[in-house]
Structure formats: C-alpha cells, structure tokens
Symmetry: C7
C-alpha cells in the first residue's frame, strides 16, 4: 500500500526522477510498446530481415493499412511496435533526416547516423516538459558501407545494435527463440525463415500469410523490398508454419 | 475502489501514459466519438459511398445544418462522427491541405496522402501539452489513380484503410452487418443499398429519408455527389427500409 | 457521492474529456447561456425576426444599455443570450469578419460564412488551453442571395440552421410554442407576432413594450432594422399580449 | 458543508465556469468592489454629476491622494469604487484611448465608445488565463453630441447606461434612494444635491465636506470640473447635510 | 478551523480573489513590510524629512550597508521598509524613471509622477501571473514646483500622499505619535526632531546615532542630503533622545 | 502539527509569501548555504583576506578542484559557501560584469557596483516564477579607490558590507570569534592569522594546510593572490594551529 | 511516517529546495547514476585510462552498441555511467564545444574548460523549470599542456578533478580499492592494470574481455585510443583477472 502510493507520487510527472532514479513515464511508454504486436529484425550475412505480426481486427480492414514496416530510404527499412500514431511521427522524422543527408552530403545516410538522430529526438521528449515520451520502439535495418546493420530505438532514446531482436508483445519468448537458433552466417532466405519461425513460436507454431508482413534489405543491391504474399507463403510452407487444414 | 482511484490518477493529465501504457485522454475522446450518431463508409468496385445518421433534434432545425458529410475536394468526401465543432476544424484542415496540394503540385491530392496529413495533425494533439485530443472520427473516401479508397482517422491519429466501416454509435453492430453482407464486386448502387441497410439494422430496420444523408464519389467521373431526398427515398423503397405507414 | 467526486475530477480542467467523452466546461458554459434571459429568432418567407427579453434590473438603468440585439452588417442582425461581456467579444469578431469580407471580396458576407467563422473562433476556446469557453449563444439572422437565413452558435462552436429557435432561459418551453405555431409561409409581420407570442408564453402571456427588443432583416431591402417602441406596442396590442390594466 | 466544498472546487480557477454556469472569480471581484466606499453618478438635463465617499484613514493623509474621481478627457470624468491600484490601470487605459481617438479621428472620443473600449479590455481578464479580473467598477460620465451620458463598467466587462447609479459599499440602499428621488429634468445643481443626499442617506444623514468629492461635466461647456470644498459645503448646507455641531 | 482551511484555499494563488474580494498575496506582502524595521517621513514647510531605524545585526557589519534611505534624483529621496532586495529593485526602477524623464523632457521628474510610475509597476505584479508582489513599502519625498511632497507606495500598488507617515514595524504606534505632534508649519529642523522623537517613542524613548539614518530634501535648494552622525547626534541630544549613560 | 501543515502550504511555491510575510524558498536556500563548509572574509587596513574550509572527500580528489575561492577580476576575489554549481553560475556572472565594465568604462569595476549587480541578479530568481533561488552565499572582497572593501551576498539578493564575516557551516560560532578578536587596524598578515584562527576555532583548534584555502587582495598592489601551501603552513605554525603530531 | 510525507512534499518539484536546503531531484538523478554499471578513470604519469563495465543483456546484442566510452576530441575521452540517452546528449554537447573551440581559437579545447562548459550546461537543468536534471555522471579524461587531466561531472553540475575515480554502481567499493593501490608515478600500462583490477574487485575478481571497454589518452601523442579485445585480454591475463576455466 505504502509502496504503491509512493510510486503514484512520481509517475504522474512527465520529466522527473523517482527517489530510486527511475523515469516512470518512460517505463510506462515501454508498456505502450508491449501492448503492440511483435516486430522482429534479423541480420544475416547478406542483408537484414524485418518481420511483423499485423493481425487485422476486421476482415473489412485493408491489411496494407496496418503499417508496421516502412521504407525510410532506398537502403533502410524500419519496423515498429507500440503506439501507431507515434510511430508515424518517428518514421516521418527518419525520412526527413534521410533526405536532408542526401541533399547536404550527396550520399545516403548511414544506418547508425539515422538511428542516433532518431534517438536524440526521442530523448528530448523525456527530459523537456510539455510533452509525453514516444510510446513506440523501432527496429531500423539497412546497409552501411556494404554491411548489414540492425538497430533498436526505445522510448528512453537509447540506441542499441543487434544481430537479431524482437520488440512489442512476447519480446522475451521471441528473443529466447532467436538466441537459440541464430547463426551469423546464414543467408537472407534463412533469415526470413528464422524470423517467421520465431514469430510462429509464440503463435501456436503457425502463421497465416495475411497476418504477417516481411521485408528485406539486400546487402548487394542495397535495396529495401517488401515480400509479396506468395513469397511469404512459400517461406511459411518451407518451414511448415502454415496452419494445418483442420484448424 | 483501488483500481478506480488508480485510474483517476492518470486520466486527468492530457499527455501522459498510465502504468499499463495507455493514454486515457485519447480513450475518452473515443467515447466522444461513440456519443455521436453513426456514419458509414462502403467501398465498391466503381466508387465509394458515405451514409450518415443525421437525426434532427427539432422539426424547426434545418436538416442541412446537421453537417456530417463534407466535400473535401472534387474527388474526396468526408463523413464524421463525434464532436461536431472538432469535426469542422479537421474538415477545414483537410480542405486547406487539398488546395495546397493542387497549388504546389498541380494535381489533386491523393486520398491516402490527405488522410495521413490529417492523422499527423491529430497525433500532435495527443502528445504535446496545452490542448485536448480531437473528439471526432472521420471517414475519408475518394478516388486515387482511378481506384476507390476508403480511410478512417481516429482520435489517436492512426489512419486505417477499409473496405467498409462504421464510426460513432453502434459501431460494433453495424460492422457485424457490413462483414456479413459486404461484396467487394458490388456496384455503387448496391453500395448505397448496403450502407442504408446497415444503418437501418440498428434502427428497427427502418429509416426515414429526412433522417439520413448519403453521398458518393464515382470512380469514373472522380466526382463527389450528395444524393437528393428523392433518390435516397428510392433506395430506401428498393430495400424496403421505409417506415411502414402504421408506424 | 462517488459519482459526484468522479465528476469533479474532470470538470475543473478546461480542455479535457471526461471518461464518458464529455467536455464539462462546455456544458457549464451552456448553463451560463441558460442563466441569460431568452432570445428568439424566426425565419419567415420575406425576412428574419429577432426578439429578445431585456428585463431591466432598475428603472434608472437605460433600456438601450441592455444590448441583446446587434447589427453585424447592413443585412445581418445578431441576438444573444448568456454572458453579456462574452457576447460583445463575439459581436466585435463578427463585425470585423463582415468588414474584412467586404474589403477583400467587394461583396457582403454570407450569413452561413459569417456563422461558421464565428463558430470556428468559439471552438478554439474549447480545445486549446489557457482560456475558458465563451458563455454565450448567438442567433445570427440575415439575407443571403435574397433568402432569409437563421443560424445559432452554441458554446461548443457548433453551427445550426433553424426555421425558428430560442436560446437562453426557458428555451424548451419557447421552442415547444414555436414548433406548434410556426408556419414557413408567414410574412414578416406574422413572424414578429409569433416571436412575441412565444416570448409571452413563458411570461404569463403578457409583455410590456419596454421589457423587450425586436429587430427584423427584410429580404427585399436586405436591411437590418430595429422596431421602435410604438411599433412593438402595436404588435403586442394586435396579439393581445399587453399587460391588462389591473396588473 | 457539501455545497461549500463543491463551490471551492470551482472558485479557485481563474477562468473556468462552475457547473451552474457562473464565473466565481468575477463574482469575487465584485466583492472587492463592495469593499470600496461608495461612488455615485447622476445624469441631469444639463450635465452629469459624480460624487464619491473618500473617507481618509488618518488626519495626516492628504485628502487629494484618495483619488476616486478622475478626468479622463476634457469632456469625460470617471469615478471608481473598489481596488484602487486596479482603478488606476483602467483610468490610464481610458486616457490613452481618449488621446488615440483625438489623434486618429481629430475629435473627442464618444462616452459610449470609451466605455466599450474599457469593458472589452476588462473582459479579456475574465476569459484568458494568467491574470485575475479587475477588482473595480467605474462610473464614466460625460457629454456626447451635446447630451449627458452616464455609464457603468463592472468586473465582468459588461457596460451599462444609467440615469443615476451607485457602485461600491451600500449600493443597494443608495440606489433605492436614487430611484425614489430622481427626476430626469433636474438641473446640474439639483443633481449635485441628489448625489450628496443619497450619499448622506447611508451616512446618518450627514456628510463633512472633507470626506467627499464632487465633480461635474456641464453639457453646454462640455467641460469636466471638480467642485472645491467651499462649493461642496454650500451644497451640503443647502440640503442640510452638514454634521450638526454637537456631533 | 473551517475559516482557516477556507482561507488557505485562496491565499496560495498569486493573483486570485478570495470570496470576500481580498487578494491574500498582497496582504501577506504587507506582512513582509511589517517584518522590516520602521521608516518615517515628515513633510515640513520648507522640506521633507526621511528617518529610518537601521539596527545592525553585528558590530562587524558596516552600518552603511543597511540601506534604507536612497537618493532617487537630486530632489527626491526614498526610504523603504520590508524586503530589502525587493526595495532595491524598486529604487533602481525609480532612478531609471527619473533619468528617462530628464532625458525626454529636459526637466526633473515630478514627485507625484515618479510615485505613480512606481505604483503602476507594483500593481502589475499583483494582477498578472508568474511573479509575486513586491514585499516592500516606500516613502518617496521630494520637491515639486518648490513645494515639499511626501508619498507612500504599498504592495498593492496604491499611491498615498501624506503630511507625515511611518511604514514597517510599529507603524500604528508611530503614526499615533505623529498625529499628536505634527504641525504643518514647522521647519525642517523641527521635522527632523519630530521624526526622531516618533522613532524613539517605540524604542524606550532613546535612540543611538549609529542605529538610525536621517536625510532631508530642502525646498529652497531642492537638494537631497543625508545627515552625518554628528548632526544626527546633535538632534538627538537636543530632543533628549540619547541613551542615558547607565544603560 | 497544525503549524507544520500550515507551513507546508506556503513553502512549496517558489515565489509566494506566507501569511506572516516570509519567502520560504529563500529561507531554504539559506539552509543550502549552511550545508556548505565555512568561508571567511576579513578586511584589514591594507587589504582583504578570504579563507575557506575545503575538506576533500577522498585522497584521490585533486584539492584544487574544490573551488571555493575565485578571482573575479585583478582586484577582486570571491569566496563561496553552499551549492557549488550555483556558485559557479554567480562567479561567471560576476566575471562577465567585470569585463563589461572594463570594456564600457575603461576602468576596473567597483567592489560595491559588482556586488549589487550580483544581488540584483539573485533577487530576480526570488520573485519571478520558473526557477529556484540560488543556494549559495558569496563573500566579495577587493580594493576600490585604494580602500579594502568586503561584501556578502545572500540568497534573497540582499548585499551587506562587513569588516569581517563568515558564511556557511558554523557561521554563528565563527562570527562570535571574529567579533571578539577583530581589530580594524591590523595588517594583512594579522588578518590571515585571524581568519585561520577563527576557522580553527570550530575545528578543535587545528587546521591542516591541505584542508584550507587562503587568498588576499592587497590594497597597495590592488592584486588578488592565492597563498601557496608553504605560506599557509607558516601562518598555521605561527598561530599554533597545526595538528599536533600525536593526532 | 511523518518524515516521509514531509520528504514527498519537496521531492516532486523539480527546482525547489527542501526545508533542509536539499534539491531532491538532483539527489534522485544521482540514484539514476548508481543504477548504471561502473565506469573508472585513472590518471597516470603519462596519460589517462578510462575503463567501463559494459555488460550485455543478450548475446544477440552488439557489444559496440553499449556505448560507455566516447571520443570527445582527438585528445579527450569521456566515460559515462547512468541514463544512456542523457549521456548521449552531454557527449554531443561536449563534441560541439570542442569543435567550436577549435574553430574560434584555432587550438584544441582544454580538458578543464570543456568540463566546466559541460557542468554549467548541467546546472541550468537543476535551476530553471520545465526540464529534469541529467541522470548521468561523466568522467572526462585528456591531455592539457602535455599533462594528463581527469575530471568528473555530477548531476548537480559540479566539476571535480581526480587522480582516479569511479562512477556508477559500486562506486564506494571501487574507490576504496583505488585509494589503496593508486600510485601517481605509474605508467599507462600500470594504470590500465589498476583500472581493470579495481573493476574486477567488485566482480568476484574476474572479468571477461567482452564485458568491459578500455581506452587511453597518451600524454605524448595526445591521442585518444580504444584498446582492442586482444590487448584487453593480455592485460587481464597479466593481472590474473580472466575467469578460470572451471567457471
């Protein structure tokens, strides 16, 4: 009882520390991320894979309108989890940063440079008053100097680089799966397979093609590409992740 | 009791997260939408249909003054549900965006582009302090590259694309009806019929012409048009939705 | 008890939604309107009528200083009910809008255009922090394209068009009377008679000329005109609304 | 008890409505006016009279430093009641308005025009946050187009025109006296007499010359003039309002 | 108990009225004035006298550093009581006003003009939010058109003109003494004597020269002058106000 | 209990008065000063002495990094006590003021002028909202017109001039010592001795050279100089203030 | 209980003092520092050493993405502990300061100059409202005039200079170890050894190369350099800090 009322005293203010040095609003924004369906990123030897759970709440809703994978630049894709409208703000910010970089330096923005521009932007919303933090986590994947790179931004504004990761619902279970099965030398196809298997692992082992989205950024072409449904279904079939008929 | 006082602690602040990652003010703005009478959008093979319940609180009020369907541009219509004055702000914003697009690029604005400009505007009111969210949902329907498109904006600033949807009172029941009867291949006339039948389904099965408004955007002409009362009555008669005499 | 303290939590903040989607400050501003004496508008076939109850709190106060009917432009009059000082702000705003329209477009402002400029102005005070809503309702009547038009603005910033309406104290009873006796084809004189009878209906059936104000906007001349006391008295006599001697 | 705590919830916020549509801060500012000693205005056939109770709290204080009658322009005087420092702000505002009018239009400002400029200024302090209302009421008297005019401004920003009025302490009793004895045809001298008698009526029937201030604006000369002590004493003697010797 | 909690509700807000029309923050600022040692002003036939109690809290503190009498201009002095740092702000403001007047009009500022500039400045801090009132009262004494003038400014921003006054601790007792002994015709020397006697009257009848400060503004020379210790001691001796040896 | 909750009501607001006219935030800032180790200033016939207790919390910390004596200009030194980071802000402010004075007037800034610029700066933080007071006291010592001058600034923004003073921990005891032993005619060396003895008096009578800092401003050379450790040790030895060996 | 609720009253406000003169938000920001893993700085005769504990929360996370050592300029490195996103803001600030110094003065920034620019920046966030303090401590090490220098910045904005120090978790224990083993004359290699041994001392005596980061700034070359894993492992082996095989 005492502990609880103590907590309440600090978690209502946007930009203040609790006595134990925590920023509750940032932690609650992380809860907003967990309320979103999962998104996964996998870095392979020849590119990065983004895969997202995009469950549709009605058969009348267009699947494409559940936007969880975005093209930030020709060579960079972003997957999100959490508050959708907040994600759109950060995606727009990332796109503008990419264009500015191209205009100013005449070359594509680096994946790390872009990630840190985004996290610095996020951090401002955790320290200066008059606004709440962003309730969204991003997976930023792309090619930099020919190398695949994979980053995460969290609501505190901290950047992390990963070989493979998940954000959103069931993050812990999916990361356990990834740790067990990840192999740094796998190719892009294997990476798609791993991402789908990991997503299926918290989904009774099955995925229907229309409930997921997959995109890749190929290291050779340095080009972002969304996989069409047929291709996704092939991958699911190959890994025996399609729902069985009797279901 | 405890749960309730806990909730109160977070729902008074405009732009802060609750411990479970929710934005109560946005959720309450959704309640404001539910307090409004229903609006329906249906996308057909050759155009989009907007239909609204515009019950008049007095026979002395001009029906036309209950504005729930608005022409945003020649090729785009918008139906709203919720706080009327807020809707007017967003409609004005949408019209300005359409004009700016025409002036800047010399071509009509895309339906998706317009929708996302509106939702980005809405999102700002959910993150930056000093204002409340918009208490209104919009259905934005129009023609883009010859194709009918139908979108929803909600108080969080999230855009959704739909084949058919309802916003406002009785949303759930109306969407159940739409899911059961929707056929992607129907023509515009069938779409009007579906929209009216769905609206009647939560209205004892009957509608009087003066209590509703209907508009269409035809894919061929790319033109927004409001249906006059006689035409609406014909549709109602055709689908046996007119009130019987003994009522 | 619980319900009440719940309500208190939401009605103190100017621009926030309650859990059921209401804006209490706007609803309280409507109460401020009800605290004002009644104002009536009637649209007839050849013009609009504005009639107001302007009870004077002392015989030493000049009747003309209780301003409830205002000329907004040559062809538009406005009657108000509620917080007098707030009404003056909106009237000034309306007059400036009229002048700007004349200067910019070289033609008189439309009644609907003016009404919506006013309601958009009002809406801002309900969404953006740092100010309270306007505690006043306006009846805006005038001639547009030769046609009489009659509008209402309420504290939420919603515009309504009416054939006949009342705002302020006893709105419900007066509107009942108007609904029963209104005839769209009546002429301006009959409209004055209806407005006065409706006002008398909540006043023991009698009105003294000095306690009321009447103005008309004639569709033919497109000119706002206040009725002098003698003319008002004639109307009252014609409809047997003058106080009997023994009172 | 319940009613009281309910009231407290609304009267601390500067610019918000209570559930019954009242603005408590404006009502409390009216209480600040009542805490001030009375000021009286009387309009006669040939000019206006301003009379004020200016009790001095110490014989060492200069009577002239209790400023309750101010010359706003050659043809306009202002008497105040309530918070003295607030009154000074409004008087300064009125003087600037008068000068601006003279500069801009080459003619003296109208009394009504000046009054409404002042009340519009006052209203702003009741609607926009960050400041409190003015705790003062003004009586503005002057000559416009050769006619005596007499106005009141109250803390809500509402203008009233009067034949005769009182503001400040004992307003009700003084106005009862004025209503009983006022005659629209009286000349300026009679007006001074009425004002002094009314003031004496709440003062045991007696006034000492040094405790009061009187000024007039003559309709013929259109000139503001303060009465000197001798003249005031003559008036008091004429109306038998001087304290008797044994007091 | 009830009355107290009621008061607390209103005295925490800087710029709001209490239900009985009071501004508590201004009243508390007056308490800050009372916490300061007394300052006295006396107007004589040929100049004004300022005298202050400047008790030193340690023998190691320089007496001159307790600044309670300030020269605002050649012909104007100011004594203060209350919050010392606030007084310095107002003195600086007064000096700038004096310089601006000299530059703009080529003549020394009038004592009344200066006083009212200061009180208008003070009033702003009582009405507009974001700052507290000034916790200081000033006695402004000087020569205007050859005549000695003596003014007070209080924390509400009200100006008063006096023949003789005290501010700060024991104001009431000192003013009683002044009322009893003041003579408008006395010369400057007698004025110094009266000021010192009045100060001594609340000090066991005795004053030590180092505990007080005295300054005069002579009407003939129109010059502010501080009295040196020897002169002050002469005055004290003349009026038998020096501490007796056995003390 | 009652008194305490009463106090709490007023000490949380930065810039408001309590009912008894106190500014609690300023008083709490004074507590922040008392939490700092002591600093001492002594004015002698031929210069000023600044001495500070600079206990180091670890042998690995550089003694020079505990900055409590600062050179503000060639002829002015400043010692501080209280919140270190706040002190740095004020020292920077003082240095800029010194440079500006040199640039603008071509001469070194006066000690009193500098002190008052600093205290006016401090006062702003006690009256205008949006910031807290400075939690630091400064001793400003220097030479002005060939004369040694010694000032104190406190968190309220009040300047004081002293012959000798202490700020920070044990202020009272150290000032008692100073009062007993101070002699205005002593030379600079004696002044150093007095400052060290006073500091030792609250330190078991002993001081280790590395735990203190001493600086002087010589009246003849008008130059600020820090004493090196050897010189400090000589002074300590001379006054038998060195820790005895067996300690 | 009483003490606790007392504390709560003061620690919620960002920029206010508690009655005992403390700034709770700054103290809580220090707790945020303690929540971070430890960072160590050691100054040797020929350079400075920075060593950090960079435990990775998952084998899939890239070690390099846990950034705790940053190059601020060619000759200056910075290690951080605490809130990572806040650290990034300060590192960016430090880098901009370094570049500005180079551009403006044509020479590398001094280590002390840079440190104080950073602490002044930090202090602003503890005094001016509308933002929270930085929840991070920095160790700034570099070469100035050929000499190694080592500084700390804490959340209050106070700069400290050290011979060797730790920030973050286990600060006390690590500093005890450093005090016992530090030798000012050791060379850079010995400094690396001391830093690693100190870090191991709170880690069961062992460190794995991938869990730590080490960088040096050499006094001769004045160049910042990160040690590669092999070199770190050599150092660990040399000091027998590698985990034994059976672990």
């Amino acid at each position: 009882m005492q502990g609880q009322s103590q907590q309440q005293a600090y978690d209502r203010g946007i930009t203040i520390f609790s006595p134990d040095g925590r920023l509750y609003q940032v932690e609650y924004a992380r809860e907003a991320v967990k309320r979103g369906t999962a998104s996964i990123g996998v870095r392979t030897a020849d590119g990065v894979v983004l895969a997202v759970d995009k469950r549709i709440r009605s058969p009348l809703m267009e699947r494409t309108s559940v936007e969880k994978i975005h093209k930030a630049d020709d060579h960079i894709g972003i997957a999100s989890a959490g508050h959708v409208a907040d994600a759109r703000q950060l995606i727009d910010f990332a796109r503008r940063q990419s264009q500015v970089n191209q205009l100013r330096y005449g070359e594509p923005i680096g994946v790390e440079t872009l990630t840190k521009a985004v996290t610095d932007h996020i951090q401002q919303y955790t320290q200066v008053g008059g606004a709440r933090p962003f309730g969204v986590a991003l997976i930023i994947g792309g090619i930099e100097d020919g190398e695949p790179r994979l980053y995460e931004t969290d609501p505190s504004g901290t950047p992390y680089e990963w070989k493979a990761l998940a954000v959103g619902a069931d993050r812990g279970e999916i990361e356990d799966y990834l740790e067990e099965h990840y192999d740094e030398q796998m190719d892009l196809d294997a990476g798609v397979g791993l991402a789908l298997s990991a997503l299926a692992s918290v989904n009774d082992g099955h995925l229907s093609p229309e409930g997921i989205g997959v995109a890749t950024v190929d290291a050779e072409t340095e080009t972002f590409a969304s996989l069409d449904d047929a291709t996704v279904e092939e991958h699911l079939a190959e890994h025996e992740l399609l729902p069985s008929d009797e279901e």
